[in-house]
Subunit: 214 residues, 2 copies
Amino acid sequence: MDAAPSERTRVKRYNWLAKYDEATIHSILDAMPLCHVSYVHEGMPVVTPTLQWREGNRIFWHGSSASRMIRSTQSSKVCLCVSIFDGLVLARSAYNYNINHRSVMIFGEAEKVSDGEKQDHLKKFVNGVIPGQWDRLRPVTEQELKATTLMSMPISEASAKVRVGQPEDDEEDYSFPVWAGFIPVHFGIGEPVADPRNLDGVEMPADILKFKIG
Amino acid sequence: MDAAPSERTRVKRYNWLAKYDEATIHSILDAMPLCHVSYVHEGMPVVTPTLQWREGNRIFWHGSSASRMIRSTQSSKVCLCVSIFDGLVLARSAYNYNINHRSVMIFGEAEKVSDGEKQDHLKKFVNGVIPGQWDRLRPVTEQELKATTLMSMPISEASAKVRVGQPEDDEEDYSFPVWAGFIPVHFGIGEPVADPRNLDGVEMPADILKFKIG
């Protein structure tokens, strides 16, 4: 898909960085569970950071059933954004400063996932972060499922922006004697730190080392 | 300040992680230029990722004067969020999974910075990222200043959330035989990559190595 799916998803600023294809959008969502969900609460804009995951061409997020974010997004219009900071672009002019980044913006109406389907989706979320982890955990209770609301929407009205590499300076600025380039930024994953309250003899599953973001 | 400055900034979920003091809020804003600005555009919520910086107890961000974000936030209510992903918390139950994080949420009405003041604030922004860089760059033009709009608001109606360390499991779950702990996440800053179009003899300023986020 080369064209924006709707006028409001059409990227206007730095529009040459825009991508509308599913593969790009999915890869960005899969690389970063942290998202920002924007909604209108009592007439005011609110943005709440939370975790998202993807199943096929749908995006899911969850929260406390009693939270403002969950109460305000249910069957309501939302705009959800995932952004990854990949580097600082040092151009020859302040105007052409930028960051290398990957971002996705999705518009839609948030749908509440039915009670019967919640557990299956939560399992996919947990196992998507650490393979096989769901079955290792203390089983989820009815009360916990009740206290958790899952929201979902199709990834249909979505756009991505991807910027990599060197500055794009004005042609006449390339003769200006200043150092230009970029500073790469990445997510570093540290060594897992065991809880001192772990039971004796409980080993860390190797899957824990598969966690990555960015 | 121990109390929330307003009801809508009072943290309700995981309220024991809430911080309302200026030092905590400022330190999070200073650690992460990427922010998410939420606003209402034609009755719909929109969230736009952009860069922010702080001067005293005010927050600033900028954009193309013609952009939806700038046109929609001017003299309008906004909610701005800065979030830093510090780690994955592997609890003993899915319900107690979490991420270690630092986040700030600010409510306010975005004010447009006057034309005469723009350049001074942009200089502070550029030099805040790389010390002394503004004076090394090709000087800003009147046209560039005109194409750029700066927005600002006081950091008065703000809250922070900070989570560190090990899981907080239900007391009875500590006897469940699963490995628990956390995986630290940090921003890694790579070696600067020089633009192949840099002029011969142009050296990288040592200040470039001072860049850091997170």
